[in-house]
Point group: C2
């Protein structure tokens, strides 16, 4: 059985790569920066994304979001408070987003009227690693409550991401989080990886995080 499954899966992945490549071209042609977020369930993707959308729109940046979950429309409803366009992708029992889901979810959106599109993946530190979504930048969030060892235990997804964002730093003391060990573990798995630390709750580190994203926009936005 196993060889046949591997072969079919390789074809699926190849098909995904082809579609992701065409998405990337469309995004580029529209002058759109696409940023995806991956993490464990509960690392704080939606909380950070809501703060991000609110601030970016306040600064005149045309931001939108797609959010993936197995079930519920809760996240899109939360993000709607930012007044940015937001669409939910519910995957049923599928453990990751793929390029086809992105393709379908952006139908009807005029991409050239947006500056930045965020894609929040299903909470999962394994499967999303294998699926290119056509994004320009992949953020990997890990919260201090998850422990310092996660890069060593889930190396593949760290290797597919561009930036490691350590979240919930307001809880670092309570959970005795060892930031030096965490940073060393990230660099052991992906040498040279950009690392940021923040708390969406207190706002600490959020301006630096926003700057790291907006610095990649074609048309620069001044973050207040």
């Amino acid at each position: 059985m196993q060889p046949r499954l591997v072969e079919v899966r390789q074809n699926i992945l190849k098909q995904n790569d082809i579609l992701a490549r065409s998405l990337r071209t469309r995004f580029e042609d529209a002058g759109l920066l696409v940023v995806s977020m991956v993490s464990s369930p509960g690392a704080g993707k939606t909380t950070l994304l809501e703060a991000t959308l609110t601030q970016l729109r306040k600064d005149g940046c045309r931001a939108a979001a797609l959010v993936g979950d197995l079930a519920t429309e809760n996240d899109a409803q939360r993000l709607a408070r930012s007044e940015a366009p937001a669409r939910q992708i519910t995957t049923g029992t599928v453990c990751h987003l793929d390029a086809q889901m992105i393709h379908e979810a952006i139908a009807g959106w005029s991409l050239s009227e947006l500056d930045i599109l965020f894609i929040e993946n299903v909470g999962n530190l394994v499967c999303p690693a294998s699926y290119d979504l056509g994004e320009n930048l992949r953020l990997l969030l890990m919260s201090v409550t998850e422990g310092e060892d996660k890069p060593l235990k889930y190396p593949t997804i760290f290797n597919t991401a561009d930036v490691a964002v350590i979240t919930k730093t307001d809880l670092a003391a309570a959970v005795e989080f060892d930031l030096v060990a965490a940073r060393n573990n990230i660099q052991a798995v992906r040498p040279g990886m950009t690392m940021l630390e923040l708390s969406a709750k207190t706002g600490a580190g959020v301006p630096e995080y926003l700057e790291s994203i907006t610095s990649k926009l074609e048309k620069r936005v001044a973050i207040s």
Copy 2:
């Protein structure tokens, strides 16, 4: 492509179910209680398991453990401190344990000389839901830092589990965890599900948790 993948996957799952059934019979014949643990990465499976093994062995219960991770032998090394037999299963890029991995990992162990075997799955709230490991009891851990909405967002895995264990309750106030909402969400997804709350750090709730497991042992053990 999709229908073929679905068909192959169904065959894989069917094969897993057959093997899981034969494992369950072997466990039963040996008088062995098998308890599996699933959760997000970082919900505290290994910390709770180390405390569990240490206490059970102190009370004369012959406990052992299998721990799954994509990479590293760290967890088995941590668990070895309890002096219980512990083996690591490293899955590479595979996002879950399956019955074949359990079958191979217990090779050479004399099951009738054990009272209880714990199986810690890969940290993932999606994929492990589909794989029966032959266990008698499946514990689902969710930490207060993940938020109250996880049962609604990951309903399938809650539906395959027997007991929901809310962990890291010492952090509940710091993250403004709403226990009533969490309990309601669990019951909405799986009415009647047994729910426990504990902190492996402070020990609160741990005796009740141990009692809920040892009450299922054929030969009762008095927990001190």
